[in-house]
């Protein structure tokens, strides 16, 4: 590893892998940094090590990643796994922790390809052991072939819900119930995006088939499946014992030791906000995402964002976005002439556009439902500091609407995660109580370090002196 590069790419998912490969192939000095032990990001997690049995269960959407890895390995940019980036600056400085020691790297360009995360949604009992997200379950399986052996309930809305259900059926996991919380009326409201989505008919059919397969498997195995479900609740003392919900005027309850929840995917903006990228609000999916152009250029001249971090578009799009970003950087560094750039970018851009055709439909169908954040007063919202929904409503009623101020006063978002887990909920609680639309409130600030660093490590950090102005 060197200390200084043409470009540093943070995050080794499809976007980061494709971007760093493309840059290395163009002869640029690049380093790819990632927190995990192996490349692949969330979607292709652990792909260099999974067994053929795991790969069979995970299917070709997963093994697709092998090609991405192959290209990456051929291009062979510098790659540092287990590197936790805790601060990055618009001048190209990156501070990271690796093997319990922190250091600084610099680059002319930074590409933030830190991906997406599942939308954290507080509900009664969500902090009980036994409650986890569908993505979390999927990670356990990719990492160590783990699957539930005791009754498991799957609840929520979105493609990942069906995917995980499909995997669990394949693994013969004892599924106690599948609770789809997608409101029926969103099938109607999303329909107007259908014509455009049909441009990627194959992709849509894949989704339809997956859901049909899950339904069939559920029927065969006599697994209860409910649609239009509301009011999910995890019940138990020290450990999850059952899951309650309502469907129409029916009260549901299923004994279970694991509850897998999923309420969609949102960009992981922690590093983006810390470095100072400007964000805009998406009213359909209701999340903040960075303001970028097609190549991922941000308001900061040396900083690009690629992949799901710009907007959640999926793995294939992430790869295209990563490549487009690489081309834009190569052009700026004069490794591509204007003409070459045009030639090379055009087909990728076209593929990306095609890939994006079904997104408005999917985004509308799986939009967060209106009552998603109708959190009961006694439910915990900020896990780090133990702040309840009721306490937040109280402070909003006193006239506070800026999460930054709310944080300073009741500590909600003050803990080590800096509001990553409660941010979405606080935004919606503020909107609910004050009537101030989310997009008109000041986004929550993210301060370095975005990941905790021990004082000993900080004290020993190899950071050369920076000039103080």
């Amino acid at each position: 590893m060197k200390n200084s590069y043409d470009a540093i790419i943070i995050g080794a998912g499809p976007a980061g892998l494709a971007c760093s490969a493309e840059l290395a192939n163009k002869g640029l000095e690049v380093a790819l940094l990632d927190e995990q032990a192996t490349p692949g990001g969330q979607i292709y997690r652990n792909i260099t090590r999974t067994s053929s049995r795991q790969r069979t269960v995970l299917g070709e959407d997963y093994t697709e990643g092998l090609k991405v890895i192959e290209n990456f390995e051929k291009a062979a940019p510098d790659y540092l796994p287990r590197a936790r980036v805790w601060q990055a600056e618009p001048n190209g400085e990156v501070f990271l922790s690796h093997k319990k020691s922190s250091k600084k790297l610099t680059a002319q360009f930074l590409v933030l390809s830190t991906g997406a995360m599942e939308r954290p949604v507080p509900f009664p009992g969500w902090t009980l052991p036994g409650v986890m997200t569908c993505g979390g379950m999927s990670n356990l399986f990719k990492d160590s072939s783990l699957a539930p052996t005791e009754p498991v309930v799957i609840a929520g809305s979105g493609p990942l819900l069906w995917l995980v259900a499909e995997h669990l059926f394949a693994l013969n996991a004892p599924i106690a119930a599948i609770l789809d919380t997608t409101p029926s009326k969103q099938y109607i409201t999303s329909a107007r995006h259908m014509p455009q989505a049909l441009g990627r008919f194959g992709y849509l059919m894949k989704g339809v088939k997956m859901i049909a397969a899950v339904q069939l498997a559920a029927k065969k195995a006599k697994v209860p499946m409910y649609r239009n479900v509301k009011n999910i609740e995890a019940v138990g003392n020290e450990q999850l014992q059952s899951v309650k919900a309502t469907c129409g005027n029916k009260q549901l309850e299923f004994a279970a030791s694991t509850l897998l929840v999923h309420e969609g995917i949102i960009p992981n903006t922690a590093l983006l906000r810390q470095i100072g990228c400007e964000h805009t609000w998406n009213p359909v999916q209701r999340y903040w995402h960075p303001e970028v152009n097609e190549h991922g250029a941000t308001n900061l001249p040396a900083v690009f964002v690629a992949g799901d971090g710009t907007f959640v578009h999926g793995a294939k799009s992430a790869e295209y976005k990563g490549r487009l970003t690489a081309m834009a950087i190569a052009k700026q560094l004069h490794r591509l002439s204007k003409c070459e750039y045009k030639q090379q970018a055009a087909p990728v851009r076209e593929q990306l556009h095609k890939e994006l055709q079904p997104r408005p439909f999917i985004d509308a169908l799986y939009a967060p439902r209106k009552d998603l954040f109708a959190i009961p007063d006694e439910a915990t919202v900020c896990r780090c500091e133990g702040v309840t929904a009721g306490r937040i409503r109280e402070i909003v009623a006193q006239g506070f609407s800026d999460h930054n101020e709310i944080k300073s006063i009741i500590r909600c978002g003050m803990g080590p995660c800096q509001g990553r887990m409660c941010g979405s909920a606080v935004l919606e609680l503020v909107a609910e109580r004050s009537g101030i639309p989310a997009e008109e409130t000041r986004p929550l600030r993210m301060r370095p370090p975005i990941k905790p660093v021990s004082l000993q490590e900080l004290a020993n950090a190899q950071l050369e002196e920076t000039d103080e102005s």
Binding site: Q87, P448, S454, L455, L458, A459, L463, E465, E468
Partner: protein, 372 residues
């Protein structure tokens, strides 16, 4: 729109001044370019500290400290204030000599709020301090408060007392007129007033320049970090050092706020601060030497804010010597929070043309010219 007094800056200084003037039946309009408490006043480290103050500030600080006990009555909030004794440590004999001299000086001036403590007493107050610490100077009455809660309580009280607070309203132009001042704001409106108070914090020099009264204030970005919860280590005592830069505040929830003079590079125009990890690394080194038990504590967040500073490290509080009717309250050099309640009092007295209850000669705006 007209008022007796126009106040620029919705930090704690502007709001404290506004409250006192409104209580003395003056009409007040206060302009704040962002929100009250957005800058230093809402984002300082909450140290309510008399200890280690420049002797020129001590009378004000002692008077202010008494007022911190009565916020429930004066601003209808306890401001999150609680006592956390502050202990300034001597790491060697030379440090101890400095502290002894300091106590002797304070005693000769008639103050007894800083008390010398020996090796054993230090360990009773703060059981985890390193072996090499030989003694200290304690201030048992110092404490901590919640800065944003305090700033908001001040702003809310000002409004209750009838002050018009215009948030998101920047004063972009100000002119001296025959009978006072005329200001123009970013919302395109004009306001008139007889007197004008400059409480613009880090922007105070710039603001005052508009009236042809430049002040030698510069902006700095004191930078702090906070740890995860490490209950039991600080024992409720906040710490400072004598020969090196470090301040450690023992927050009630078990986290530790670390600062004491570290600064980050900034751009005041663009309102950007780049938190400098090198500074935090330096602080961490010293911290581990002083409290080895904190080695494995985690730094979970840094923060910073703009502060107006002066090279002699005490503020400018008083009437402009160049523009009649203009009053400054600025340049608190990273320790104004504690003084705020008292600043409201003396500023209102100045504005009303009365003799301030404590002398302010040391804080004259023209003191630098006199020295030159």
């Amino acid at each position: 729109m007209k008022a007796d007094v126009l106040i620029v800056g919705g930090g704690i200084m502007g709001c404290a001044t506004a409250i006192e003037l409104a209580r003395k039946k003056k009409s007040v309009i206060l302009f704040e370019k962002d929100e009250p408490g957005r800058h230093a006043s809402g984002h300082n480290s909450g140290g309510v500290r008399c200890q280690g103050r420049d002797v020129r500030e001590i009378p004000l600080a002692v008077a202010a400290r008494a007022m911190w006990d009565h916020h429930e009555q004066t601003v209808q909030s306890d401001c999150g204030f609680h006592v956390s004794p502050r202990l300034r440590l001597a790491e060697n004999d030379a440090d101890m000599a400095v502290l002894e001299k300091r106590q002797a000086l304070l005693n000769s001036l008639g103050y007894d709020h800083e008390v010398l403590v020996d090796r054993e007493q230090v360990r009773r107050m703060s059981p985890h301090v390193a072996e090499h610490v030989v003694g200290g100077l304690a201030c048992y009455t110092d404490g901590l408060a919640n800065p944003l809660l305090t700033s908001k309580a001040y702003a809310a009280t000002a409004e209750r007392e009838g002050v018009t607070i215009l948030s998101q309203t920047r004063v972009i132009d100000v002119q001296k007129t025959a009978n006072g001042f005329k200001v123009r704001t970013s919302s395109g409106k004009q306001y008139e007033g007889e007197t004008l108070v400059n409480g613009t914090g880090a922007w105070a020099g710039r603001f005052s320049e508009m009236l042809g009264d430049p002040l030698p204030i510069y902006a700095a970005a004191p930078t702090m970090m906070v740890t995860d919860r490490v209950p039991g280590i600080m024992n409720g005592t906040s710490l400072g050092l004598t020969g090196r830069l470090l301040g450690l505040m023992a927050a009630e929830n078990g986290t530790i706020i670390i600062g004491g003079g570290y600064r980050s590079p900034l751009d005041l125009e663009k309102e950007k601060i780049w938190i400098d990890p090198m500074q935090m690394s330096k602080a961490a080194k010293i911290m581990i030497e002083v409290l080895p038990a904190l080695r494995s504590a985690q730094m979970i967040r840094c923060w910073t804010a703009f502060e107006g500073c002066l090279k002699d490290k005490v503020p400018i509080v008083g009437a402009s010597t160049k523009v009649s009717g203009l009053f400054h309250v600025c340049g608190f050099s990273a320790h104004g929070f504690q003084l705020a309640p008292m600043m409201g009092r003396v500023m209102s007295q100045l504005v009303l043309g009365r003799e301030p209850e404590l002398p302010l000669d040391d804080f004259r705006p023209d003191r630098f010219e006199q020295a030159a």
